[in-house]
């Protein structure tokens, strides 16, 4: 507001609003305590922990075999990644060999899961922007196809329990691979459709361009990872920088934000990432070797050697780490998760202050936070 209208002396009351824990836009149970001046946010205090389910504590009290079934719930939209991080950590400690077919299967299902996670993000992001009843249905339609594929290979739509220590659980049938191929063949057309509706839409552009600019130095200070930091132009993707599994053998690119790291950049990053993942799935299918699917026998008393292991993988939300301390028994001594959402959410207050309330949704939606991933 311009000062020559002499409005600076006029006092308005500060309004304190609870946003959450039950609020349609906080993706579950995040609670933001906002201090508003008119519609401008002056202070934000995120309150998390409404979904704290003691995942780390459960890890100490379950056998490794049982805990494998549980960790899909750490980040339920990308259960394959949480399983993979845990399996990687345990395999590092144990030193067991993973057969190549299992490696390829892991990469395959992980990339499929990345697409399904991004699709859900796309739907909810548009809901946050206010397109409540039209567009969000389209990404969900494609997601259903992926979930059907997951259901066939793992037995459930979201809680897969598929990637195990030493390999994977089940070898899919050849017909399954054909279905995946069919999906990848038609998926790029679908992305084109989404982009036709969203990407250049003037209202979307107005609400996302230049909104929620995440500065490089701030992002690095907060340890932000994943598409959120790639939107700011920092090329940091574990699949390239610290390759794990069979990613060195695959050919792909890391999409980066073209502008200053605003909401629209993060949106574009994820859209492009979906296209890249689609390519990766095709490559995995082409290169899929024959052979064993597990290097360790899946028994109830599964145990690993004593020692510590830290593994990190690139989940759809960023660097997902798992730190396991084992004492050689069938239970872990301590399990510690490094969740991307937890670290990315910490940067939210610095993005929100000084913005109107309508921007909260766009910014919060664009950093793609999953609450159980924050609260565990």
């Amino acid at each position: 507001m311009s000062t020559n209208l002499e409005t600076t002396n006029l006092k308005t009351d500060e309004m304190i609003i609870n946003m959450g824990p039950q609020h349609p836009a906080t993706h579950g149970v995040l609670r933001l305590i906002l201090k508003l001046d008119g519609e401008i946010v002056r202070h934000v205090e995120p309150v998390i922990g409404h979904l704290h389910r003691a995942q780390e504590w459960q890890g100490q009290n379950r056998t490794l075999f049982q805990y494998q079934a549980l960790i899909d719930r750490v980040d339920y939209l990308s259960g394959m990644f949480t399983s993979l991080a845990f399996a990687h950590a345990c395999e590092q400690i144990d030193g067991c060999q993973i057969p190549p077919r299992a490696q390829y299967l892991r990469a395959l299902v992980c990339e499929m899961n990345r697409i399904s996670s991004h699709l859900l993000w796309l739907g909810t992001f548009l809901i946050d922007l206010g397109a409540l009843f039209g567009f969000p249905f389209y990404p969900f339609r494609e997601r259903e196809k992926l979930l059907d594929l997951f259901e066939e290979i793992a037995g459930q739509r979201m809680m897969f329990n598929y990637i195990r220590i030493g390999g994977v659980q089940r070898d899919p049938k050849p017909s399954w691979f054909e279905k995946v191929r069919k999906f990848t063949a038609e998926f790029p057309d679908r992305i084109d459709e989404y982009e036709a509706i969203v990407t250049q839409n003037p209202i979307v552009l107005k609400r996302t361009k230049g909104v929620g600019i995440l500065d490089k130095s701030v992002a690095m200070d907060y340890g932000v990872t994943g598409p959120s930091i790639r939107g700011s132009g920092i090329n940091y993707d574990l699949r390239k920088t610290r390759p794990y599994g069979i990613y060195p053998e695959l050919n792909f690119e890391i999409p980066l934000g073209q502008n200053q790291g605003d909401t629209w950049d993060r949106y574009m990053c994820r859209i492009l990432e979906m296209r890249q993942s689609n390519n990766l799935i095709n490559q995995c299918l082409d290169k899929m070797p024959e052979g064993e699917i597990s290097g360790k026998k899946q028994i109830a008393g599964l145990r690993i050697k004593a020692g510590e292991g830290f593994s990190a993988i690139e989940s759809p939300r960023g660097v997902l780490g798992c730190y396991v301390i084992s004492n050689g028994s069938d239970k872990a001594y301590r399990i510690r998760w490094r969740n991307p959402s937890f670290c990315n959410l910490a940067v939210l207050p610095s993005l929100l202050i000084g913005r109107p309330i309508s921007d909260i949704m766009a910014i919060f939606g664009s950093i793609d936070v999953i609450l159980p991933d924050v609260d565990r």
């Binding site: 309004m15 946050d128 397109a131 409540l132 249905f137 509706i197 209202i203 107005k206």
Partner: protein
């Protein structure tokens, strides 16, 4: 070609059934109150009091028509919206309650009636109760002047033919925002408060372009009377106000004469568009046509904002303000808000139809009809014969006559097309932000509407000079 013909067919069937239901019941109510009751009263006893009562009954017919129309129509519109959105999002939509989900919204309405009604602690109970009434009332009396235009100036509704009709409607349409602000403030809820304030800011900002675009049409027609404006648009889409507000009138006449093989076609053209300054005339007409088309879309945009439709549904922005100004409303009060919102959408659509899209007039130009039916004479003949046969009945009832019937049919088609377009928009666009909304209103729409008005007055002046 039409892969989804089954669902589209169901949708069309549903729409037709509902429309029959709506207009059947409205017609029935009008018939009872406006025709049957007065007749019976007059027959029962021939004294002054009964005559007065009969007259009062006739005078009240428009009100009864609207009171019957609004709830049923709102139910239908909600159903159209839900089924329409289902069509656009490749799913089925409500189809279990009644045949094809016919009664879904009726069930919703009955349910809302029986819900508990809560007045929160600290709320201003009086204002809280008054707000839905104030929000709803304008949709009753604001739509009354439209009735005469919709029914083709039927005798029963002649009383609603206001000389300053559009002025009255504009005045009425700015009342609901008071209800919203009142409801938002009285709820003692911060989301409601912000929602109500946003609504006020939004409604007043978009009122100016809305009124300016309507005034453009009023100026071109030199009238504030909706019936007169409607009657000026007879005879095909070239005469509609959206195409220059009568600037293409001569073209229509000329083509008509040309096709009929009339010898004085060029004279007609000369009379309307004199050739001595034809460059200026053509520029003026083109300017008029373009600016009225722009005015139409400006009106649609501003009207969307007035009735809080996506992309301007900030007052109830679900993802930010929970449910906006009606966060605290439950049960029947919420139902009334809901009702009024959809009725307002219908009213602005019908204003658009009347002011821009030729009201209840046939969109097919006369010369086209002549051309098409030059050789096929039996169809108009059949229609004439049927009309002739029915005329005694029609004259008896004097509530329905062919003019009214066709007027209402065309109004329905045009108005619900606009409503369906609003549903399509709702399926596509996200929501604006408040500051962008204000910017769009004040820095784009208002200057544009001023510009359009400027062009129109000069173009009209040029044409006036030449004729």
């Amino acid at each position: 070609m039409l892969a989804n013909s089954a669902e589209l067919f169901k949708f069309t069937r549903l729409t037709l059934i509902w429309l029959t239901l709506i207009f059947g019941s409205v017609w029935g109510a009008c018939f009872i109150v406006g025709v049957l009751l007065p007749t019976l009263l007059l027959r029962a006893c021939d004294n002054e009091i009964f005559a007065l009562l009969a007259q009062i009954c006739q005078y009240l017919t428009p009100l009864i028509a609207i009171l019957v129309f609004i709830p049923i129509n709102a139910m239908f519109m909600v159903l159209v919206e839900r089924r329409g959105l289902a069509l656009f999002t490749v799913r089925m939509g409500p189809n279990r309650v009644g045949p094809d989900g016919l009664l879904q919204t009726a069930a919703d309405a009955v349910k809302l009636l029986f819900k508990e009604d809560i007045i929160p602690t600290g709320a201003d109970a009086w204002l809280f109760t008054l707000a839905p009434i104030i929000f709803f009332a304008p949709s009753i009396f604001g739509s009354i002047p439209l009735l005469a235009a919709i029914t083709g100036n039927n005798d029963l509704f002649a009383i609603t033919n206001l000389p300053t009709g559009i002025f009255f409607i504009i005045a009425a349409s700015s009342v609901p925002v008071v209800g919203i602000v009142m409801g938002g403030w009285a709820s003692n809820n911060k989301y409601s408060l912000v929602g109500g304030l946003r609504s006020a800011a939004q409604a007043i900002s978009y009122e100016i372009p809305l009124v300016l675009s309507l005034v453009t049409i009023c100026y071109l027609n030199q009238s504030l009377n909706v019936v007169e404006i409607a009657s000026r648009q007879t005879g095909g889409f070239l005469n509609w106000n959206i195409f220059g507000g009568g600037a293409l009138n001569g073209l229509d006449k000329y083509l008509n004469a040309l096709i009929n093989g009339s010898s004085n076609a060029n004279d007609i053209l000369q009379a309307y568009y004199p050739s001595n300054q034809w460059i200026l005339t053509v520029i003026a007409i083109a300017g008029l046509v373009v600016s009225t088309i722009i005015a139409f879309f400006m009106y649609i945009t501003a009207a969307c904002a007035e009735v809080n439709r996506i992309p301007f549904d900030l007052p109830e922005a679900e993802s930010e303000l929970v449910s906006g100004y009606n966060t605290e409303y439950s049960g029947i009060k919420f139902a009334i808000f809901f009702l009024a919102e959809f009725t307002n959408l219908f009213i602005v659509s019908s204003i658009a139809t009347i002011m821009f899209l030729g009201a209840g007039n046939n969109p097919i130009p006369q010369f086209l009809i002549d051309y098409l039916f030059k050789n096929v004479t039996f169809i108009p003949q059949t229609i004439n014969a049927i009309t002739q046969a029915l005329s005694p009945l029609i004259n008896q009832i004097h509530l329905i006559n062919p003019i009214t019937f066709w007027s209402v049919v065309w109004m329905i088609v045009k108005t619900y097309s606009l409503v369906f377009f609003a549903v399509l928009v709702r399926g596509t666009l996200p929501r604006f932000k408040i500051d962008q909304l204000m910017d769009f209103g004040w820095k784009r729409l208002i200057p544009l509407s001023l510009l359009v008005f400027f062009i129109v007055i000069f173009a009209k002046g040029v044409i006036n000079t030449n004729v």
